[in-house]
């Protein structure tokens, strides 16, 4: 499928370091490369602190990249300013994790949605803009009367829909969804995920879907990348990754997902993962997972493994392969 599609976003050797006073460099994203094809959903998973959110925020330009290159539709977007930044922001939008903190409580829902259109001079005139706001509200499953209300009048799931309507207001092509459902209840999560899938089919959107809920990521994504301490350890088509994980970390991560079926869950063998994620400050070369890996070799502690294609576009960064 994705083979004959064009690359929309290219991430090449992206690094994002944060300087910590007196301690050195926090290597949040360290040499990460991947491509996102037009029209697909690219899932990015990992545990908290692995750099997945930083990665998303760097791509959209909220953080300046330390080094490496980002391309959008063939154009270099690593360091944008002025007209080019404006051009990119019209095409790429973001949906945030916390629907309570990401909407301005002093603006009406209509104003929140209209802000983006105003910035880009879309739908000029009061009437067309109102019409567009109502259209967007309908698209995300809210009523047009909601435009005059304030965010506090809505539940978490409804607020997330407002956030989605705001992202769609500028007719973007690419949306970064940063944990869009993790703050919601199970029954509401399904509503939002269905909405995202439907919008993608109707509007031809491309998603970068960042989450730690592994079963939801599998459900929504075409391809999934797994991050561990700033490194990309495995990347494959979503079905292949879940049925045949190759990296020891991915294997442990997937075995730890609780399965909502008592007969399977009670017999399941969780691969024990000793210890905890290490510190991402001033990392030395070597596989970041080596200290917890049950199959670590001497080489793993010295040499950082490269991401290798093992065929069928299944990429792994591990010395075992």
């Amino acid at each position: 499928m994705p083979e004959n599609k064009s690359k929309l976003v290219q991430v090449e050797h992206l690094k994002k370091y944060f300087t910590i006073r007196k301690k050195g460099q926090l290597m949040a994203v360290d040499d990460v490369s991947f491509d996102i094809y037009r029209g697909e959903t690219f899932g990015l998973v990992g545990e908290s602190g692995c750099g997945k959110t930083t990665c998303g925020r760097t791509i959209i330009g909220l953080y300046p990249a330390t080094s490496g290159h980002l391309y959008y539709d063939g154009k270099d977007i690593t360091h944008l300013s002025g007209a080019q930044a404006h051009w990119f922001k019209k095409r790429a939008q973001m949906i945030f994790q916390d629907p309570y903190a990401s909407l301005n409580p002093r603006m009406t829902v209509g104003d929140i949605i209209a802000e983006g259109m105003e910035n880009f001079g879309l739908y000029p005139g009061a009437r067309p803009r109102q019409q567009r706001i109502q259209e967007l509200l309908g698209l995300v499953g809210l009523n047009k009367e909601h435009a005059n209300r304030f965010p506090h009048e809505f539940s978490g799931g409804q607020r997330q829909r407002i956030g989605i309507a705001r992202a769609l207001a500028v007719d973007p092509e690419f949306i970064i969804c940063d944990e869009p459902i993790s703050a919601l209840d199970v029954s509401i999560q399904a509503q939002v995920v269905n909405l995202l899938i439907r919008l993608q089919q109707e509007l031809g959107l491309t998603y970068l879907f960042i989450a730690h809920d592994l079963s939801m990521v599998k459900h929504i994504s075409d391809r999934v990348a797994v991050m561990y301490m700033g490194h990309l350890v495995e990347l494959a088509a979503s079905d292949a990754l879940y049925s045949q994980p190759l990296h020891p970390y991915t294997q442990a991560l997937l075995s730890a997902i609780p399965i909502p079926d008592p007969r399977i869950e009670r017999q399941k063998n969780v691969l024990p993962l000793e210890g905890e994620v290490g510190s991402p400050i001033n990392c030395q070369p070597g596989c970041r997972f080596a200290s917890r890996c049950p199959r670590a070799m001497a080489r793993c502690h010295q040499e950082t493994p490269e991401l290798k294609d093992l065929g069928a576009r299944h990429l792994v960064a591990c010395h075992l392969y």
Binding site: E47, S48, S155, G157, Q158, D185, V186, S187, I188, Q189, A190, Q191, V193, N194, I197, R198, H212, L214, S215, M216, K218, H219, I220, S221, D222, S238, D239, Y242, A252, L253, S255, A256, I257, P258, I259, P260, D261, P262, R263, I264, E265, R266, K268, V270, L273, E276, V277
Partner: protein, 343 residues
């Protein structure tokens, strides 16, 4: 035969707010026996945390009110009319709680060792030396490496998973007979979650502790619980053993909840079955069944009268009008699960 430890009967709790009386829990009854794990499952606002707080006497007047009709007995003793002194003896010793957020449930200005010892010294007449020894044992029990060293550290020096282990150690300090775990792994990553759940399972088996586990994660429930109570809008809508709930759900809410979670074997991007709408406002709870407005099988009576429980087996009961004989003959089915599977 296991001995019954806790019995909650017709528990009703309201909170008085400026907006009016919020009826958070509206008639909840359940039993927990020794060595058994009962899970309370439900969405946020369904009243599951409030229920568990009532078991520890943590509903504080004047805003919170446990209604006079309620009864909670622990080992045969009514606890709702405990004096302050009795509560202090009971909390931490007979029943202990593991809180959701390990980041906020520890005192940031106290060393870990003192926080654990506090509980031991309060309930036992032993010397500080012995208490310290017991603290080291506890930290070993929850698999914290170098316990002697860790005793003198502050919470900020621990990671999230390690803090949750400390919180568990505090709960275990006096070998409680009942442990309430309120979303113990929600704030943790999956690999750490697996470690903590394994730890809780081991402790439960070794110490024969009764556990009330509050969660919204059905996967966690599948691995931990013996019995499940599904709560919705302040009531238990269905109660049963873990197999009964997962394999033969008999309430539309339970059935819908189970289908709303994507399974790894399901084809990708297939629409998930959703529960439309949002939970009702508990200031003005609906007259009939709380789930009626979101239920796809809603009948006229569902909006008028709250359904009573239908007993389906010794352990399994559900509150839904679909179990009524009249509904069965009108729609022509034997078992309610037939209806759910058709949709």
């Amino acid at each position: 035969m296991t001995k019954q430890l806790l019995e909650v009967n017709n528990l009703r709790i309201s909170f008085h707010t400026y907006a009016g009386e919020v009826q958070a829990v509206r008639g909840v009854s359940f039993k927990v026996s020794e060595g058994e794990c009962m899970a309370i499952v439900g969405e946020s606002g369904s009243g599951k945390t409030v229920t568990s707080k009532a078991v520890l006497g943590l509903i504080e007047p004047p805003s919170g009110e446990v209604k006079a009709t309620s009864s909670i007995t622990f080992a045969g003793q009514e606890i709702l009319n405990f004096s302050d002194r009795q509560w202090r003896n009971y909390r931490g010793k007979d029943a202990a709680m593991i809180f959701q957020d390990p980041m906020t449930s520890l005192n940031p200005t106290m060393k870990i060792g003192r926080q654990i010892m506090e509980n031991i010294l309060l309930h036992n007449k032993i010397s500080r030396q012995e208490a310290r020894q017991r603290t080291v044992e506890l930290l070993q029990m929850v698999n914290i490496p170098n316990p002697e060293e860790r005793l003198t550290q502050y919470p900020y020096e621990f990671s999230g998973g390690m803090r949750q282990r400390v919180v568990i150690a505090i709960a275990l300090a006096c070998k409680p007979r009942l442990m309430i775990a309120d979303e113990p792994t929600t704030a943790l990553d999956v690999t750490i979650q697996a470690q903590i759940l394994q730890l809780l399972r081991n402790i439960q088996q070794q110490e024969h502790t009764a556990v009330i586990m509050i969660t919204h994660d059905l996967g966690v429930v599948a691995g931990m619980a013996d019995f499940i109570s599904v709560m919705y809008a302040g009531r238990i809508v269905e109660q049963g053993s873990v197999i009964e709930i997962f394999n033969h759900p008999q309430h539309p809410y339970t059935s819908a909840l189970l289908k709303a979670v994507p399974s790894l074997s399901q084809p990708n991007k297939a629409p998930l079955q959703i529960i439309p709408g949002t939970p009702p406002d508990m200031i003005a709870p609906p007259q009939g069944c709380g789930f009626a407005s979101r239920c796809q099988y809603c009948m006229k009576i569902c909006q008028q009268r709250d359904p009573a429980y239908t007993r389906l087996s010794d352990t399994h009961q559900a509150a839904c009008w679909l179990h009524e004989a009249q509904a069965r003959t009108a729609f022509g089915y034997q078992d309610v699960s037939e209806v759910f599977n058709h949709a």
